[in-house]
């Protein structure tokens, strides 16, 4: 028995960065292909129950309808009876629902913003993140066939989750006005401005402070500033705190803030940020979570952020498949299928 | 108007078109051409040959095979101040773009209370005779003439072609210039200097006293040939080429009918609902008391244009069938019958 959930964000990969930067579009057709491959992979990995979270575009449901499931195994594919409205709250609600349904692993299609929403709905989910978004620091580039396979192998217990996953870091944000806490998986940025506008961020002059959970040099997006100045990878504790502007600019770093878009970014200070150490961000300004302007901070309003490694269990696809292979899971004698036999 | 004299330079119908476009483009920077295969290739009939070489791809534009967008290109660019010539390779293809022609091109000025001006020329090639079958051979001018807001021009010879095309380009209204495919190689005197033939003015190709023959495009030439045969039988035909079909020079036709008392309209389009019906109605309204016979009409049978040369030959009126029709109007028989 193994249950794999799948969440698709139909809005990923279609924002203004296709115009202001050089991001590639991700069409619905492309996403449906990803869903199909991931589900086939999960089934082949041993999943016996696939929980499909509906989305406003019906991508997941349409993708699974066309599958040839003659795998010699009994697999149940269920579409959750959860309404999809077409906003980011959908992803959060779907993740919560999958937690209640007891999904062993969850495959998520989307960019950093989508993965963040999943974490908001189910913080300690066992996650296989597939990139269909734009900047994609959190989800790595991986073919959906293999991502699905890994999700299936872990869900079916072929590979132990603890062997092949790490706990994602999370920048937890709380507000002094009593509104709900929020979180970021990659970066939290305070920037000048008064509106969330078209949501993406691509103007380096507007930056005021950056808190990066993932600060890896070879990434695209705001977190790359931290990654190039003071690398702290996703598995290491703590993060990086960069302050921009002010009277004492100490340096310039050239960083790819969006796909194909490099800027000289002036900064004042770069500091390692210990796990659990709070950083106070004061308005006015706009808070960007994982690359999207999402919340306006009024003048004098305070947000406090700290990084803790208590986020999703991120499944390493390569390690999972390698672990399964090392136990001869995929090997069988000629003429006798390794699996598919009624036991 | 001045008629060409024999010592003038001769040019083909297609090159007369080409020269009108070329000289107009030289004269007015706002004039440009767009259409399928007109640039590097020069147009399927060579109509736009060499123009891109002279004016570049900015002013002689190869478009996608997108008739609606081609006409839309003309509408939008003319209403914003350019003087476009947009080409529909075959007249049949206007049906693909009929919304843009009928609902947009023709009506924009009126719908906008007169505040729009569309100096747009749509050029196309009509008519049968190449075994091009039912979708590349039609004569659909009656449809266009039925739409208020359009002007429709259909020259029968190289001289008129150049002069009418120049007028179309200079015209501050949408015009449709129909070239007949079988006339493209027709040679005739064409002055080198730019000149215009006014729209809405018919041309009496052959003065006569016994019967009026109204005909345009290729059929005007067939009618002239029929008139030559009938002259030997002592029948003196007056052949009128209206040249512009919308607006139609009713006055010239009516004056001729009052003089000859007999009139026949010859067109290549199917007879039913063709322009012949409209002309017949106008003549009987204006000259009923002068007529010695019902207004006669010659047109194609009510069928699509057939492919086989054997069928197409009978489908399209020619000098012989026109002569038969003219004799009928006069109550005469062919010699020896």
């Amino acid at each position: 028995m193994g249950t794999v959930g799948i969440i698709t964000n139909p809005a990923a990969g279609k924002d203004i960065r296709r115009l202001v930067a050089h991001a590639s579009p991700t069409s619905d057709a492309a996403k449906m292909g990803v869903v199909s491959r991931a589900v086939m992979g999960a089934i082949d990995g041993g999943a016996t129950r696939i929980l499909v979270a509906p989305d406003r575009h019906n991508l997941s449901t349409r993708a699974v309808q066309g599958l040839d499931l003659d795998t010699g195994r009994s697999v149940v594919i269920e579409v959750l009876d959860e309404p999809a409205h077409g906003w980011s709250g959908d992803t959060i609600a779907m993740a919560s629902r999958l937690a209640k349904e007891g999904a062993d692993t969850v495959i998520v299609l989307g960019g950093d913003g989508t993965q963040r929403d999943v974490a908001k709905g189910w913080l300690d989910v066992a996650l296989v993140a597939i990139s269909t978004g734009t900047n994609n620091v959190f989800p790595r580039s991986v073919d959906a066939t293999l991502a699905g396979l890994a999700a299936g192998l872990v869900a079916a217990g072929v590979v132990e989750l603890s062997q092949v996953s790490h706990r994602a870091k999370v920048a937890h944000v709380r507000f002094d006005d009593g509104s709900n806490d929020d979180l970021a998986l990659v970066d939290l940025v305070l920037m000048d401005g008064q509106f969330t506008g078209s949501r993406a961020v691509w103007d380096p002059r507007s930056l005021r402070a950056l808190i990066a959970c993932i600060a890896e040099p070879a990434t695209v997006g705001l977190s790359s500033i931290a990654g190039l100045l003071h690398p702290v990878d996703r598995r290491s504790p703590g993060g990086v705190h960069v302050i921009f502007g002010g009277a004492h600019e100490s340096g310039v770093v050239r960083a790819p803030l969006a796909p194909g878009l490099f800027f000289d970014v002036l900064y004042s200070s770069v500091m390692a940020l210990d796990e659990g150490s709070p950083i106070v961000l004061t308005g006015p300004g706009v808070l960007s979570f994982d690359g999207e302007r999402d919340r306006v901070l009024a003048s004098g309003a305070v947000a406090t952020a700290e990084i803790r490694a208590d986020g999703p269990y991120v499944i390493d696809v390569d390690a999972t498949i390698a672990a399964a292979a090392s136990t001869n899971h995929f090997h069988h004698t000629v003429g006798i299928p390794a699996r598919g036999i009624e036991e | 108007m001045s008629q060409p004299t024999s010592d003038e330079r001769t040019l083909s119908y297609v090159m007369a078109f080409n020269e009108a476009v070329r000289q107009s483009m030289r004269a007015d920077e706002n004039v440009f051409c767009a259409g399928e295969d007109i640039g590097a290739f020069g147009g399927v009939f060579g109509t736009f040959g060499g123009l891109q070489k002279e004016f570049g791809s900015r002013r002689v534009v190869d478009t996608p095979i997108s008739e609606q967008a081609i006409i839309g290109l003309g509408v939008g660019s003319s209403v914003t101040g350019l003087r476009p010539i947009v080409d529909l390779m075959f007249m049949d293809f206007m049906c693909v773009a009929l919304d843009q022609i009928v609902n947009q091109t023709a009506k924009l000025k009126y719908m906008f209370g007169g505040k729009a001006t569309l100096p747009l020329t749509i050029t196309t090639a009509g008519g049968a005779g190449l075994s091009a079958a039912a979708q590349h051979s039609q004569s659909l001018e009656a449809i266009l003439c039925h739409i208020p807001g359009l002007k429709v021009v259909y020259p029968s010879n190289p001289y008129d072609m150049k002069g009418l095309m120049v007028s179309c380009i200079r015209e501050n209204n949408p015009t449709v210039m129909v070239k007949h495919k079988r006339l493209l190689g027709m040679s005739g005197p064409v002055p080198e200097d730019i000149y215009s033939v006014p729209l809405g003015v018919a041309n009496i190709l052959r003065p006569g006293t016994d019967v009026t023959v109204v005909s345009w495009g290729r059929m005007a030439n067939e009618s002239l040939a029929a008139a030559a045969v009938l002259a030997d039988e002592g029948i003196d035909c007056e052949v009128i080429d209206p040249r512009t079909l919308q607006p139609f020079d009713t006055a010239t036709v009516v004056a001729s009918a009052r003089k000859t008392n007999r009139i026949i309209v010859v067109h290549e389009a199917v007879r039913f609902g063709g322009l012949g019906a409209e002309i017949a109605a106008q003549v009987q309204e204006e000259a009923f008391d002068y007529l010695d016979a019902p207004v006669a009409r010659i047109g194609a049978p009510f069928s699509p244009v057939p492919f086989s040369p054997a069928l197409e030959k009978y489908y399209v009126p020619d000098a012989a069938s026109i002569a038969v029709g003219i004799r009928d109007v006069l109550g005469r028989r062919a010699p020896g019958k």
């Binding site: 296709r18 115009l19 | 008739e67 290109l73 939008g76 003319s78 007169g114 015209e171 209204n173």
Partner: protein, 327 residues
């Protein structure tokens, strides 16, 4: 980039002008004072205003059957607009166009259009002129989700990309083509998915968020002005009223609950709340804009009602442009 406070106030004013004009037109229609069809733009104000606030009169737009909003956003005056809706001689089109063909060439508004999808090829022509003259101006084609199912749109989009024209295809995806849900008539959900097929960038923007539309449109227009070619901007929006007329609830083809959800995201009230938050316009200042413009509407209705009807002789005027010089 964020719009400046001046642009934000301008944006707000354009949206309120649209709303007031449309609500007034709706009331007149209910009172049987407007002949013909009426397609109201209420709910979609952020799109027309967010785009047009980035344009000048020298830029061209083509519109749809739901075109009042585009003309107002482009600077249309209430008096000749209201007169046109009443079929009066003082209307923008001398009473010959009406609601579905309302236009103002001096404002660069090349017409509302009664044929779905027909505006896009015309916008391509206007964009051609701008490129031909290298005048730095752009064309914007407004159209709905339904228009992307008709050939004219595809031809226009392809030709604009092939010729690399300065044009923005601004799609108002309001989820319904006339009286039929979008998902019954196309297998895709995002119109922007079509952009790839033509070879232009396509972006989705929240069409109920005027700042977001303004920001995205500014980028798309700058992209066109810079000579990079066409873009497709899809604004997710919603019309509060029926396809035509003034009914909004109790319709057979869409649930009232859906209407209510979208109305909670009313683009004007959303913007006003934001503007008040950041001090660009206080609640009182917003109200003052409404009061001032309501007076303009009342003036326009009085003007239109007092205006003469066109006379019979004008039927044959404006079919053709008279040629000044006989050839």
């Amino acid at each position: 980039m964020e719009p400046t406070p001046d642009v934000l106030r301008d944006l707000h004013r354009r949206m309120v002008r649209i709303r007031l004009f449309e609500e007034a037109a709706g009331k007149l229609a209910e009172a049987a004072k407007l002949p013909g069809f009426l397609h109201l733009y209420v709910g979609e104000e952020a799109v027309a205003a967010g785009v047009c606030v980035n344009l000048t009169n020298a830029d061209s737009i083509t519109s749809t059957h739901r075109g009042h909003g585009h003309l107002v956003a482009k600077g249309g005056q209430f008096r000749p607009m209201m007169a046109e809706l009443m079929g009066k001689a003082t209307g923008y089109c001398n009473g010959k166009g009406g609601s579905m063909h309302i236009s103002s060439l001096e404002l660069g508004m090349l017409g509302a259009n009664g044929i779905v999808g027909a505006g896009s090829p015309i916008a391509v022509g206007a964009a051609f002129t701008h490129k031909y003259r290298d005048d730095g101006n752009v064309a914007v084609a407004f159209f709905g989700d339904g228009a992307t199912n008709i050939g004219a749109f595809h031809e226009a989009a392809n030709m604009a990309c092939a010729l690399k024209l300065p044009i923005v295809f601004a799609c108002e995806n309001n989820e319904y083509g006339e009286f039929t849900r979008r998902d019954a008539t196309m297998a895709i959900t995002d119109i922007v998915d079509r952009a790839q097929g033509y070879g232009m960038p396509g972006v989705i923007v929240d069409g109920m968020d005027a700042v977001a539309v303004c920001e995205a449109a500014a980028e798309a227009i700058a992209y066109a002005r810079a000579g990079h070619g066409p873009t497709l901007v899809e604004a997710k929006t919603y019309r509060f009223y029926n396809h035509h007329g003034v009914q909004n609830l109790g319709l057979k083809y869409r649930p009232d609950s859906e209407v209510e959800v979208w109305k909670q995201r009313d683009p004007i009230f959303t913007l006003e709340a934001k503007l008040a938050d950041v001090g660009v316009l206080t609640t009182e200042q917003c109200e003052a804009v409404w009061v001032e413009l309501r007076a303009d509407i009342a003036d326009a209705i009085a003007f239109a009602e007092d205006s003469p009807l066109p006379n019979k002789d004008q039927i044959l005027e404006d079919v053709y442009t008279p040629m000044a010089v006989a050839q």
